[in-house]
Structure formats: structure tokens, C-alpha cells
Symmetry: C2
Subunit: 457 residues, 2 copies
């Protein structure tokens, strides 16, 4: 293996940027199970799904055989505003750790939404616009996805309606104002603008909302407005497809310099980042061309892969969305309030769930104090302040690099740095004050979540 001198940051030329997304399902021998109608338990058809999602996205959702989907010119143009994202050689972290390992990361935070979410937001907004729709609705918790979507919609001149969990709307006004600056209508959820919102407000007048409720409101709002569809930032097959741009760029940059990763590490919530990051590498593995050790990292407080069940479950707590077969903690599972940042979703992308079940990747859990310790160490030597989500991957990357230090192995470690932590300073403050707590759900708590699983053979 030859290696040119590796710069700190590898940027692709525009001409080297991916021209098509990679659909890993095409290379999977065991395909992810289909989405089911929540009433009939029969696989969802194109006609059923197109009432919720726009047509082209439904096609992408259902297509498990086409390996390459061309990226439309307009999306490519938008990508060029903030992509290619840099592949960074973590020279300073390596030196700090005194490890013989070579560490690389793909940094997706260099755009105003602060994360990789924009890669799918622009695609989903584009297809909605192309279909002649007026707007899209979505939900957002802390606001990363909502921000990305409002940026994409502003660019395309598409109406954007975001249901934001009320407690975040009130306590995290910064992301709310970013969305409003991009022209989005942001509504605290639950609200009196939907039936489901009004019902919840009647029953729980003082509630501060939940993601499950915000999803239900966003879905209802899309259905009740002419020319609107609902969009979602993770879990779905279409999202993994769009996010493959992360892995494709990474692979192209590595190939230019003769770099081959031994270990690939990504944080995993719903799976949007991990699926995109590992996509083309997993493809090589599935086709038997290369082998990689692939590690999904999840919080100990929300361990869907490591402690969940591989079963059909509701995607939302309101149980109105289709059923997906995935590793899940049950749609009623809610991570402890002491859990900081994202990666709070009860389930996992059906694609990643299948790959994990087939033994094609590993999963590990990490506790949040250790995650913030890694985040702080990384920030101080590499400069970039990482998002708590991304820092799960940093934790494991550092652990693996320290193992190399013990064994003397010169492994090449590659991880995804999904975003920046600018809007997570409350959590950092807790850590700085020594007030951060770890939390691991008990078996009994998990069982309660499993008890709510639908009974499907």
C-alpha cells in the first residue's frame, strides 16, 4: 500500500464529487423487510405511501435493486455550496494519544445546519418542489433536522412547517430563530393547529411535548393541507440513500491517497449518518471485494442495537406511521431526561438493522460522561467542537487508537464527525460543572418497552 504525504484535510475537486447516490440494498442478499400498513399489516404500496411522501421519494423508498441513483443537477449545485466536506487526518489527536494508529474523520458540520442532515433535506425538498407541491411538514426535537430542512426549503422557495417539541421551542430558542431566519413556520408542539395536538392539550394541559406527538402533528398537518407532504430526517431507506454521499466522498478521497480504513466507526441514532458513512464500504464488503470492521456506536441510555429486539414496530409513538422491521426498544421507550443530545430514537434504520442482524457490523454502547470526556479532548487538540452525537464515535475511535498503542498495531481508523456542538452548550456546561450523569436502563425498563411491540409473525 503506497501513501502520498497526507494533508491535514483532503478536499475533492468539484469534478470528483459523486454524481450518483449508492443504494446499498442492491448489494444486500437479505433485503430489509418492507414497511407494513399499521392497520392491515400488509406491505405498504406505492399508492398508500404517496399520500404521505412525495412520489419520487416513495420510489426511492421501495427500490431495493437499483445500485446507483443519479443525483439531479439542482441537488448537485446545492451540494457544491457546502460540499465536498473535508476528510481530515487527525494528526494532532494521534500525537496527543501517542498512538501508531492513523486516524481520519469525515467532517459534516461545515454548514449552517451544523450537521449531515442537510444532505437528505435538500433531496427531499427538491423532489417535493419538482412534484409541484407547495410545502413540507416535519417535526424536530433539538432542531438539527428542522434547521437543515428550512435551509433547503428557503433555497428552493418551498413552504416549510416545523413542529418543534415545546420544551425545546422554549428552552432552546437559538435553533428556532435559525429556522425562522430561513423562513420556516415553527410551531411549538403540542399546538392547537391540529386535532391530535388539541386532544393532547386537553388531556395534558401543561405538557411540554414529545417527539412522538410532534411527528403526529406534522403528519396530520401534511395530510390536511392541499399540496403538502411529510418528510423525515432519518430511519427511512431514502435517507440512507441520500446520505451515501458522505461515504462516497470519503471513499473517493481515500482512494486518491491510497488510504484503506481497517475500522469504520459511526454514531447511530436512527441511522442516517451511519448508513451514509458506511454505504460504499459496506457495498464492497457485501460484494466480497474488501473487508472492514464496522462499528455502530450508540448511547448506553438508548441501546436499540445492543439491547433491542429485531421486530416489527411503530416508527412513531402515535402509531399512525407504517410499521418497520428494525432493532427497537419499543415505540413507548423514552430515554432518561439525563440523556443529552440526539440519538434518542427508539428504533434503527431497517437497512442497518438487517446488516447488523446478518453480522456485517458490530455495535457498542458508551456512557455519556465518557463521551463528553472524549469530546473535550478532541476539541482541545483538533480544534473543532464536536456535537454530542458525533462524540460517541470519537469515544470509540480514541479507545481503538489506545488499543493500537498497547499492541503497536498501525491500524487506520476512520470515523464520522457528523456535526458541531454549538447548540449543545447546555450539555457541555453540565459536563464542565461536573454535573453530568450516566444512565443505563434496567432490564425491567426495557421489558416495558418490548411489551408495547405489535404482535406480527
Amino acid at each position: 500500500m503506497w501513501q502520498k504525504e497526507i494533508p491535514y484535510k483532503i478536499y475533492l475537486e468539484e469534478s470528483e464529487m459523486p454524481k450518483a447516490w449508492y443504494n446499498v440494498r442492491a448489494d444486500m442478499k437479505r433485503k430489509p423487510a418492507p414497511l407494513l400498513n399499521p392497520q392491515t399489516h400488509v406491505p405498504m404500496t406505492f399508492e398508500e405511501l404517496r399520500t404521505v411522501f412525495c412520489d419520487e421519494l416513495v420510489r426511492q423508498e421501495l427500490d431495493d435493486s437499483t445500485p446507483w441513483i443519479p443525483i439531479p443537477e439542482e441537488i448537485s449545485s446545492f451540494y457544491k455550496m457546502y460540499r465536498p466536506s473535508p476528510l481530515v487526518r487527525a494528526y494532532c489527536l494521534e500525537e496527543k494519544l501517542q498512538t501508531p494508529a492513523k486516524i481520519y474523520y469525515k467532517f459534516e458540520g461545515n454548514n449552517t445546519s451544523g450537521s449531515h442532515k442537510l444532505n437528505s433535506a435538500i433531496a427531499q425538498a427538491y423532489y417535493a418542489k419538482k412534484q409541484g407541491l407547495k410545502g413540507v411538514t416535519t417535526e424536530t426535537g433539538a432542531g438539527q433536522w428542522g434547521t437543515a430542512l428550512s435551509m433547503a426549503c428557503a433555497y428552493l422557495g418551498l413552504d416549510c412547517r416545523v413542529y418543534m417539541v415545546k420544551v425545546s421551542y422554549e428552552q432552546k430558542p437559538f435553533r428556532r430563530e435559525v429556522m425562522r431566519t430561513y423562513g420556516a413556520f415553527v410551531t411549538p408542539s403540542p399546538s392547537d393547529t391540529t386535532q391530535v395536538g388539541r386532544k393532547i392539550l386537553e388531556r395534558h394541559p401543561g405538557t411540554s411535548g414529545s417527539l412522538g406527538c410532534a411527528i403526529s402533528e406534522a403528519v396530520e398537518a401534511a395530510g390536511s393541507r392541499e399540496g403538502y407532504r411529510y418528510v423525515l430526517g432519518s430511519v427511512l431507506n431514502q435517507v440512507m440513500l441520500h446520505q451515501s454521499v458522505i461515504g462516497l466522498e470519503s471513499k473517493a478521497a481515500m482512494d486518491k491517497y491510497g488510504i484503506k480504513p481497517d475500522i469504520i466507526i459511526g454514531c447511530a441514532g436512527g441511522g442516517s449518518n451511519l448508513g451514509g458513512l458506511i454505504g460504499p464500504f459496506m457495498g464492497e464488503k457485501l460484494r466480497g471485494e474488501q473487508d472492514y470492521q464496522i462499528i455502530a456506536v450508540e448511547p448506553a441510555s438508548c441501546p436499540s442495537l445492543t439491547r433491542g429486539k429485531f421486530a416489527y414496530d411503530y416508527c412513531d409513538t402515535g402509531m399512525v406511521c407504517p410499521l418497520a422491521k428494525m432493532y427497537t426498544l419499543g415505540s413507548g421507550f423514552i430515554p432518561s431526561a439525563s440523556h443529552s443530545g440526539g440519538l434518542r430514537y427508539h428504533g434503527m434504520s431497517p437497512i442497518l438493522s438487517q446488516l447488523y442482524d446478518d453480522g456485517l457490523m458490530e455495535a457498542r454502547t458508551v456512557e455519556q460522561t465518557a463521551v463528553f470526556e472524549a469530546a473535550q479532548q478532541f476539541a482541545r487538540v483538533e480544534g473543532t467542537l464536536p456535537a454530542p452525537e458525533s462524540s460517541h464515535a470519537i469515544r470509540v475511535a480514541i479507545d481503538e487508537a489506545l488499543k493500537c498503542k498497547e499492541t503497536g498495531e498501525e491500524k487506520t481508523i476512520f470515523f464520522g464527525l457528523t456535526g458541531t456542538g454549538y447548540f449543545d452548550m447546555m450539555a457541555y456546561g453540565k459536563y464542565n460543572d461536573g454535573k453530568m450523569e450516566d444512565y443505563i436502563p434496567t432490564d425491567a425498563e426495557l421489558q416495558a418497552g418490548f411489551d408495547g411491540l405489535p404482535h406480527i409473525e
Copy 2:
């Protein structure tokens, strides 16, 4: 003039990055006036200044004849973590404005400090470390400079003590926590850790602090601790020197593609960004090799170039720092509380003041509502959410592009986008709510500031 097809973003290769800073004073026929001792009114000597600043920085401060100062290897390595910053072709803004003008901007916000301040922070921290000092002290208002300095100090293992204006410390906890994450000691000012702080607290028990007071505390803290020096993020000649990396990279990127700007636009507070941005272009102008229209943009609420006096003045409100000859509103001038964001300094870099006085550049004022309007328009089409400071330059760039639309001229407009607005969402929120106000100081208000000027022939 030939032009290759211009990509959205031009990144230099590492090998093309500047290896030396450019010292514009070397090419100035009329040099900036020397700093004066505030007691004796005699030019400050090396020996006097080295009690406040570290030795190498004093040399740089006083050197007005060496055109190129090599960038030390360690600083170059740090630069490689977040530089080169992209030179961006604003294709989307051009299309939105339907202008024949070609618009470029140099984006300095792609690092965790969120601005160009890091370029000088690492240099100042490096020389302090090299001199064997233990740490540095500084003041910060909203926190941009403090954040940059704490990042630089974390990287070098240098102690960093930041006096943060109390009202910002309490009401803007996010930047405070970023600094703490990077290991800085952040003290709300006024504090009981200094004599001057205790005095002020005695006289004004409930005060929420001011930048002037924080400077005084930081200077005292540096003087009273063995192995500490004080550092400053703008105004000084050394800062203009370090920031020249912005202009040098811009020029190298432009030369690669045969781009020659007709108009160069930068926002101006103390002058750190503007001085760096225009440095090498001004050098060509001074040497008679090229001509450029150069525009400094300042807020109408703090108009030091356009309505100030060119005179010796105190650099701080505490009147303990050396006197500088500059365009100034008087050290007692404080911009209205309705003024958002930075660019609040009463004076202007002595270098820029001299260049302006010599007619080598223009200055314009803009009002903040118009600035935020430009910021929002820019964010929606170009993606990046700009800092309010940077948006002053955006406002004038858009105005100039619209003029080209009227006249049909295909001018090349180049401006500095100094940073991101993530930590300015309170101001954006005000704008989003339609509650932003403009403010222009009256002649009488300005006269009150001028009355406080020291009497120096």
C-alpha cells in the same frame, strides 16, 4: 483577462498556503503614528511595551519596515487544521439579484471560534508559549475573541484567563461554556479578583460591566501574575499582520483563476478583519502595481471612520493602555444598547486610520435593520448564516451588485465574510420579530465623546 471555469469554492492546496505574513506598513509612505506612553506622551519603547506584551509581539508591533514576516512552523500546522478557508463564488446570490456582477467572498467562519479571530489568537499564544510564559489574559465582550484565544491556548497547553463582560457572561452562557470546554478560566467582569474590579464593584455594586472595565482587569491580572502577558484581538499592528493571511490566501486563490476584484469590501470594528483582508491588495495599490476600490463598512451607530476624528486617543476606557493615533469617537463613547453584534469599538486600527486619511480607501455606514435584511437574504440563497458583523459587508456588496444591475457593468466584487451568526440568534430573533431598531448618534452625542480626547499636538 482569462478565466477558467470558477468552482463554487476555491480551496488552496496546503503547499499553496502563505508561508509569511505581509506587513503593509513596509509599503506605506506615511507610516502609522507610534503608540505613546499615556503619562509622558512619548513614544512607547520596546522595554515599556514588553511588560504588557510578549517580546516577539512587541517587535512585530514596532516593525514598520520588514514586508514579510515568516509564519513559524507550529503556527502553520495549526492553520492547516482550519485553513485554507474557502474563497466562495456567490453564484446563488448573483442569480437571486440578477446582477451581471461577479461576487466572491472569503469565508472565515469554518472553525469552532466561528470567526477570523483565531488567525491572530494562535500567533499571540504561540509567541507567549515560546517565551516560556505560563499564560495570557484578555477581555471579551460577546465572546468571539475569547473563544478563539481559548482554542489556541488549549492547543498549546497555555493558561488562558478571560475577563468576560458580566452581562454577556450571564445572558450569553453558550460562548462562556465553549471557552470553559477549551479549558479557559472565565471570570465575569467586574470581579473581586483585581483591584480595579473591586473598586468598580464598590462604587457600582449592581453593575453589569463593560468592555473598558474588562480590559482594565485583564491588563492588571497580567501584570500582577508572574509569567503572564495581556493579549488583544484587534486594533494593534501585530493583529493586522497575522490577519494578512486572509488577504494572502484570497489573492493566491484569485491569481490561480485569473480573477481580479474591482471592489473589495470589509466590515470594520477595530479593523482586524478589514486590515487582513485588504493587506496584499493595498500593498499592490501602494506600490502602484494595481488599483482597487476598497470600502470599509461600519455601523451607523458607531461611525469611527466616517464621523470620528483622526487624533491620539486612549485605547481603553480605563485609560491605562498606550495612546494610539487613530480615527476615534473618543474612549468614552459607548454605542447605543440597541446596537447588535460587534463593531462597537470607539477607535480604529492606526494602520487603517492612516490609509483612510491618505485617501487609499473609502468608508460607508449602514444601519442595522438593512444589515439584517441583507444577512437574511444571503443566508437563504447562499446557505451560510452570517455574523451580524460580516453582514455589514454583505449589505454593501449587495448594494454594489444592484448598482451593476442598473448600469450593466460586470464588476468583480469581493468581500470578507468574517464569521457565522450562531451565537447571535438573539439579534436575529429581534429582527425576525420586527423589533429591531436603528440608531444614529447625534452630533451632540459625538461631541461628548470628542470632549474626552487627550490634548496632544
